[in-house]
Symmetry: C2
Amino acid sequence: MKAKVHVTLKEGVLDPQGKAVQHALGSLGFGGVKGVRQGKYIELELAEKDPKKAKAEVEAMCRKLLANTVIENYAIDIAEK
Amino acid sequence: MKAKVHVTLKEGVLDPQGKAVQHALGSLGFGGVKGVRQGKYIELELAEKDPKKAKAEVEAMCRKLLANTVIENYAIDIAEK
């Protein structure tokens, strides 16, 4: 079973990496970029077969390791197959 | 208009960051993780109003800056609203 996790900075948290990308895009001639936020995208291959249990397990992973919940949000997508 | 970009390593390209996460998850007691691949997730806020033009613009950004097309794939999602 596959899980897709998006970890993004919470609203209001400064994103210097995103700002750097925005600036670089501006220098390359892409003027119409009003904002950039950069996050992480993690694909997990799980042994767990039950979608509910898999989601609970990935949530625990996010809280313990993948996301810093003080400044980051996470979203979990369980892909069956 | 918002664009969401996923940049992921191509199949077969080594992902040391993903391996490190997998190892760390194992140390934390999450044994059922068979693989981890880590990519980037970028949200762009664009001035462009036309979805087709926006997509073409973001594709150019991916090729020129956001992705290293030798080892990375990118996927673009244009969110209308």
